[in-house]
Symmetry: C3
Subunit: 266 residues, 3 copies
């Protein structure tokens, strides 16, 4: 039986996560269920999209990833099922599949109401619709049998990709992690000759709000106390960090903040 | 091996949950352990009773549900084991089995000290008593061998069931969830001709503290910004909610608040 | 397949824990993964050492315990693998193995870079180094093949063991738990004739900061409201507690506070 991951904004103080797990284990016995997170701020689709795209590649091929951050639950919004070369994804059609869709070989709108569970109301599709459809996929059901192909999935508005300019690149803070690190969307590979060259020459500087950073390092412990530095984070993008201190709090930077990176080519 | 669910007030920052899981996996290898929650406020038996009754029905038949919110640990309070048609329950005798007891076919006081683990003190029965007894049940032990039948389990004081009155019903807020929704104990089926009729005629209004609600909807996204509405929640009871906003905080409503629902029969 | 426990300061709002679990499940399919905690305050090695030593004994023999609280990630700090009679441990060499090392039969520095995963940067050894090495151990790899023996593991500075003095013992608050209980490092067995004798004679008193405690009890429910008492905690050490109230907050006591315990021999 393959692995099911769960990513929701349900929190861990309610019975919601357990109800989803119980339903899956009832309908697809033997499934290994792994939590990605249930601490997504309520309704925060962008954060969900980031976490899903970041976590999924670590899992074995054939895993099923169920993400339920679903302010439109019960409305006409579609339920999407997507397939990449490595995994299956199930989520409301509200943008949270984000980067997954770029790599999808097949995207379907789930219309198999025969799979849905009878429910007292329309507020908990996680338990009543997503869980049984996930169980059906875990038992080997084919994506193509879930419903019609979708060519127009909802995309998150307002999140533009990073772009290059002469002598620099511009992007944004894609995520602030528990430690206060600023994970940007700027690929380390976009630096001239890569990060290693920038590191050796020191010809690189970043600006985020009031914070200007000129130091490049390979790991946190290199950063002098109280200072900030640029390094390559765990997703291959540039990260701005302090050493044992919360940069985001110290400099009042939040997700979405603009990041400008420049260098002298000379 | 059946499933074991865990519901405690241990939090997730201590070693307590892991010690219970390790003990169960040592004594009943192969058990699938599923967390309901460990975020119950310390000693909050009523919240535990709500979560247990809400989560348990989703799990496969034969599951064992272990709930340890146990301010009386080490005292003379009994340990109860209960059996319904679908599942087994293990908990201190302090009221947390709540609605489970109404459906129980058999309730026993656990007196099998031979199953208990040697322990340095009397503060952690979760690890030293509940876990080994749960493991014994998971391995197929019979409830009837745990101890004498119990006919007088402790009941939560002060929680009266909802009741009907001419032109209305009165109940209480049974739970406030992560989103700030007010989950009431009022069955949607108690509305004249059910919720669908009330929805179509609009003849229904609710009062909770200073908040008066007249709008009925089927899902959150229908609710206009800043307004509150009545809908059928995931347990089949009426729920009061806002759309993307925390109603409980906005209107300062907590668990236990009285809810009056009325309608015009004309 | 044996059990893997995880103990980190990653929190549960990021993708970090899931990435470690996915990697382990990809490389060692069928592993049962159990969380000890991910709520360790960022970089708090002492807290990690306490939790690891407290939780590990409950798990089945042969379990692998992976602890990643690693402010030095990416630096020259070693990765240690240790073996006791009961279990295997994997952690950065920064003191967090703490008491485990005293019982270790074998300690190795992990130098098998062939086991490490290719990584974009040096910030996430949890996923890129610890997880694949843990998977290798879970699949039966021998500790001795991981690297050279280590005789000088890093020890936590500033944490001295409890000591006896005439008519008393002195130790410290080793941990403050979710309930506000003060878990000390003073073994209950150090009391003259043990805790039972002290309990029966009442000849024992403790001082922590401004708080003087003279009452001894066996369980929390015995403690009168508003008072504090001494009891034997779940690790066999003395604990200072209130009944349903947070002693640490009420008396402003934090981990590390000195605890003096005295008695009259007469």
């Amino acid at each position: 039986m393959p692995i099911l991951t769960l990513l929701t904004d349900f929190g861990t103080a309610d019975y919601y996560v357990a109800a989803v797990k119980g339903t899956v284990l009832r309908l697809a016995p033997g499934t290994t269920v792994v939590d990605i997170s249930h601490q997504v701020p309520p309704g925060d689709v962008e954060s969900t999209a980031f976490l899903l795209a970041a976590a999924a590649p670590s899992f074995p091929d054939g895993s099923v990833h169920l993400a339920v951050v679903d302010p439109g639950v019960g409305s006409g919004r579609r339920i999407l099922a997507a397939r990449t070369t490595a995994a299956l994804f199930l989520a409301p059609d509200n943008g949270l599949l984000g980067p997954v869709l770029d790599a999808a070989l097949e995207v379907r709108a789930v219309e198999r109401s025969d799979l849905f569970l009878p429910a007292p109301g329309a507020t908990f599709h996680g338990r009543d619709r997503f869980a049984p459809v996930a169980a059906w996929l875990l038992r080997g059901g084919a994506l193509s049998e879930l419903g019609p192909a979708v060519s127009d999935p909802v995309r998150l508005p307002g999140v533009s990709p990073p772009r290059r300019s002469p002598g620099g690149i511009r992007g944004r803070v894609a995520h602030v992690d528990r430690y206060g690190n600023l994970v940007t969307d700027l690929p380390a590979a976009w630096l001239p000759s890569g990060f290693a060259a920038a590191l050796s020459t020191g010809k690189c500087h970043a600006q985020v709000g009031d914070l200007a950073v000129t130091r490049l390092v390979t790991h946190y412990a290199e950063i002098p106390p109280g200072e900030a530095a640029i390094l390559v984070g765990s997703l291959g993008t540039l990260e701005l960090s302090m050493n044992g201190e919360d940069l985001a709090r110290r400099w009042s930077v939040a997700r979405g903040a603009r990041v400008d990176l420049g260098w002298n080519e000379s």
